[in-house]
């Protein structure tokens, strides 16, 4: 079982036009900021960017790799989208166990989670909580 100070597994994924198009079709989010070069050029970002929820899916995958079914069974997540990922960027998830917290009589492993681009800039930052009892059951 992971303990405070331990790192979560790192995932590295490229952001490609094909990934973003597939994600739009899979999620139903056809915001032209993710699909239309001309539309995206007129935004504050100046170009096509990946869906924030696509990046968050990578963070969630990291949490599943770390905690197995305990994550979708009873996990909690709170994140901010800090900066966009552009086509051609390489996104890496980051995560570490920060502490054990008691909430309403339940012990949770609190983790700092997020993802960064290839320049080390934060794209997503936040925290996730997973019930310690489910993690213990998972690792038995």
């Amino acid at each position: 079982m992971l303990n405070p100070g331990d790192s979560l597994p790192t995932l590295t994924k490229p952001v490609t036009r094909e990934n973003v198009r597939l994600y739009a079709e899979a999620s139903g989010d056809f915001n032209p900021a993710h699909l239309d070069d001309d539309f995206a050029a007129n935004t504050q970002f100046g170009g096509v960017i990946a869906h924030g929820m696509l990046l968050l899916a990578h963070v969630s995958e990291m949490l599943t790799q770390a905690f197995g079914s305990a994550w979708p069974e009873s996990g909690r997540l709170k994140v901010r989208f800090r900066a966009p990922a552009y086509l051609g960027d390489i996104v890496t998830t980051v995560g570490s166990v920060s502490r054990v917290v008691e909430k309403e009589g339940v012990s949770y492993l609190e983790c700092r989670v997020g993802c960064q681009n290839q320049r080390g800039e934060d794209l997503i930052t936040g925290e996730a909580n997973i019930p310690a009892s489910l993690i213990e059951k998972e690792s038995e």
Partner: protein, 110 residues
């Protein structure tokens, strides 16, 4: 709606996630609920997904029946932006909560 195998596989392929086969990736549920809302909004250049909260109560298997809803809980203007807060829920077909979430989306106010 039933968690259709093809839709789950399409999502998995898009995000490159092969963990926990037979289950629906938890962010897929949130993405579908949020996508259904965004479909009905006029997305102007500069729209930003600012933050996301998610809380899961049970893992969802492929084939499970779920009921999803999205409710605008806040719609206000601050600092030149329209703040739209959308509450997301996914329940099983017995009415038990599977997921709750909150998305904050900002639109530039012209």
């Amino acid at each position: 709606m039933a968690m259709d195998d093809a839709a789950v596989e399409q999502y998995r392929q898009a995000v490159g996630d092969s963990t926990l086969p037979g289950y629906v990736p938890p962010t897929a549920l949130a993405a579908w609920a949020l996508g259904a809302v965004l479909k009905h909004l006029e997305l102007v250049p500069g729209t930003v997904h600012a933050s996301q909260e998610l809380s899961f109560s049970r893992a969802v298997r492929v084939g499970d029946g779920v009921v999803q809803s999205a409710t605008v809980s806040q719609n206000s203007v601050r600092g030149g932006w329209r703040w739209l807060v959308v509450d997301l829920t996914t329940d099983d077909d017995q009415g038990n909560s599977l997921l709750t979430g909150r998305s904050t989306v900002l639109f530039p106010e012209s």
